[in-house]
Symmetry: C2
Subunit: 207 residues, 2 copies
Amino acid sequence: MPRPMKLYNHALAPNPRRVRIFAAEKGMELSLEEVDILAGQCRTPEFLAKNSSGAVPVLELDDGSCLSESVAICRYLEGLHPEPNLLGRDLREQVEIERWNRRMELELFAAIGRTVQNTSSIFQGRFKQFPDYGKAQRVIVHQRLERMDRELDGHQFVASERFTIADITALVAIDIGGRLADIRIAPELAHLTRWHQAVSNRPSAKA
Amino acid sequence: MPRPMKLYNHALAPNPRRVRIFAAEKGMELSLEEVDILAGQCRTPEFLAKNSSGAVPVLELDDGSCLSESVAICRYLEGLHPEPNLLGRDLREQVEIERWNRRMELELFAAIGRTVQNTSSIFQGRFKQFPDYGKAQRVIVHQRLERMDRELDGHQFVASERFTIADITALVAIDIGGRLADIRIAPELAHLTRWHQAVSNRPSAKA
């Protein structure tokens, strides 16, 4: 039984959760080491040597080398544990899943991030907030949730007829928006509501 | 000689340029079809059927199916034409290149995009701008260029000792920032200046 790999983690931050869910879907155990990012623990020279961008998650391998960036770490885990497949089996499927994962990240996750950063009290005093900009981003988030609802009409999951990394990205984005910016899925968005319930009920969502 | 694949393009937009440079590095010819995005041509029902997010680039295959999202299209081109390799040969290299490509995209390209969108006259009247927010993003862009300069100390390219997709993302980001938001590499950033000259002098940069 190999020793579990160490993941530098923050329990409430969205990007480490992406990796935790990905690993849980594959039945992989990770040894979590909490980094107190709000107290600046990822700005220490020791941590910056692991990831010069000063962010979690970071995956530390047995040889001491470190991988960072959530999707890159997920690609590494997929390479080690190909099943269940979450990034696509053949080229066309890989491209389609990457397309949808990027849309969830760049259109949804990023807009939720801008809303949270500019409106949530958790970031007050940490950096300058632009509340009017945050409010405008919130409108964009809701437009994107409506589009996502239309796209899920007739589709069980975001990118494919099975659960993939694109579902993880969207779930984590929506949940952090709910927790820090009170972003809610309107009940009339029935397809999105059904999808969110289904992915939230998977055991991996608790990871 | 197979017919070149069709790329729905906009000559001045950054994301199609990423795909054009990627294809040029591989010696692949693409048949470019201009989409007048400023005139709303990517919001027509015909175009939305190709890409529901209403953005270029879109790669149309011979069977009529369409791929979108620049990095996903690049992955497809790499699958068809593996050499010269731009996304990594083995798993560890793929993960490292993806990490750096994401950093260039999420930390640099995205911050330049927010600066441009909120300060450039090209977007005036197209959507609501927040100039103060744009000015704050400009400060972040310059911090990231300084970090990139430090990271290029002793390294010829962004992700590896050879040219990869991460260099393309960074080049396209910096160039669009220069053109639309007067973002310039300060002359004291010698490593970044040397890198920018080297990648700009590659024939693919004209694609």
